[in-house]
């Protein structure tokens, strides 16, 4: 096995678990190869420096500044947050009421012998009651059926 293989094993040992056989082989190789030991020390040193260099916290005003920025979003959500629900409820209520009124008016008109509403809506007239049951006009009666 070459040096590259042990370098790979060294890297692997830093970021995941080695098998016991791998651990044994690498510790043996490290003892016999001071260059690889130096390599290992350098990598450990770099990792340590990276760890310590990157730990920077936001300033003390971070939260304050952030909350200032998000306040309008919260405000918008509180005003318009339920708008879709309100709109859908209003539309549903208005729609149902309109449909109900239309049905009642239609029934009333048909019963009263006035089919103008249906005629206007569907451009088709229904035969009036008198017309349908007019015994003197058989042709029209049949047509109406």
């Amino acid at each position: 096995m070459n040096e590259n293989h042990f370098k790979k094993l060294l890297y692997k040992s830093l970021d995941s678990e080695l098998t016991s056989a791998e651990k044994e082989s690498i510790s043996e190789y490290l003892k016999q190869n001071p260059e690889l030991q130096t390599f290992n020390d350098e990598i450990l040193d770099i990792r340590l420096k990276i760890k310590s260099s990157g730990k920077v916290d936001f300033s003390n005003e971070f939260e304050y500044k952030l909350m200032q920025k998000v306040n309008p979003i919260f405000l918008k959500k509180s005003i318009y947050g339920s708008l879709p629900d309100i709109i859908s409820t209003v539309f549903r209520k208005v729609g149902l009421s309109a449909a109900l009124i239309l049905v009642i008016v239609s029934i009333y008109n048909i019963n009263a012998g006035n089919n103008n509403l249906i005629k206007n809506l569907f451009s088709k007239s229904l035969p009036t009651m008198e017309y349908v049951f007019d015994p003197t006009s058989e042709t029209n009666w049949i047509n109406s059926r």
């Binding site: 890297y11 920077v56 916290d57 939260e63 952030l66």
Partner: protein, 190 residues
């Protein structure tokens, strides 16, 4: 839930409070719990720059605006770090474009610390590391920042970056090789 102290609530309960009750207190608690991790990620990517804090704020603003997209598949901190990684990478791309158009080639060939003689050793080390990190590609920098600065496990790093664990391990190895090469002249000086 109202009587429960806010700091005892789980992350998911806090998200529900923000989502359903528009709770600023719950949002503030989410920020308080996660700001350190986000700062490590953002500063890890962008260095100690003025816009790093703005990007950090943008992480939480994006989260709030799209809170309905959070489905609990990832932990809240991983989700926020994911946003932080994406925003930081976008910022780095913007910087590259700015640098290209400003014809600033000073740092193009390796690392250069302009006033290293005047700064103390700790800061010099930090600057060296930061500039070495800036010389890494986005994919290598991402694994280094998450694994070594954020101190995520290899599995968590893989999860945040949506990569297989094996890919994270190989990218880590390549990134450390590159860092070792970049920092070699400074090691030899000492």
């Amino acid at each position: 839930m109202i009587d429960t102290p806010i700091n005892t609530l789980s992350d998911l309960e806090l998200v529900d409070l923000v989502r359903n009750e528009n709770s600023r207190v719950a949002f503030n608690e989410i920020v308080r719990r996660n700001k350190s991790r986000i700062s490590y990620t953002v500063f890890g990517f962008l260095g100690n720059s003025d816009d790093a804090e703005d990007i950090g704020q943008e992480v939480f603003i994006r989260f709030l605006k799209n809170i309905n997209n959070f489905n609990g598949m990832y932990s809240l901190s991983s989700y926020l770090v994911k946003i932080a990684v994406n925003l930081s990478l976008n910022e780095l791309r913007r910087r590259k474009i700015r640098k290209f158009f400003s014809f600033d080639k000073m740092l193009e060939d390796g690392i250069e610390i302009s006033s290293s003689a005047k700064i103390d050793t700790i800061n010099e080390n930090k600057m060296l590391i930061q500039e070495a990190l800036e010389n890494l590609s986005d994919k290598h920098r991402s694994v280094i920042v998450l694994r070594l600065i954020d101190e995520y496990s290899t599995e968590e790093t893989a999860q945040v970056l949506d990569l297989p664990v094996g890919t994270v391990l190989s990218r880590l190895a390549r990134a450390q090789d590159k860092l070792r090469d970049l920092l070699k002249p400074y090691r030899d000086k000492k």
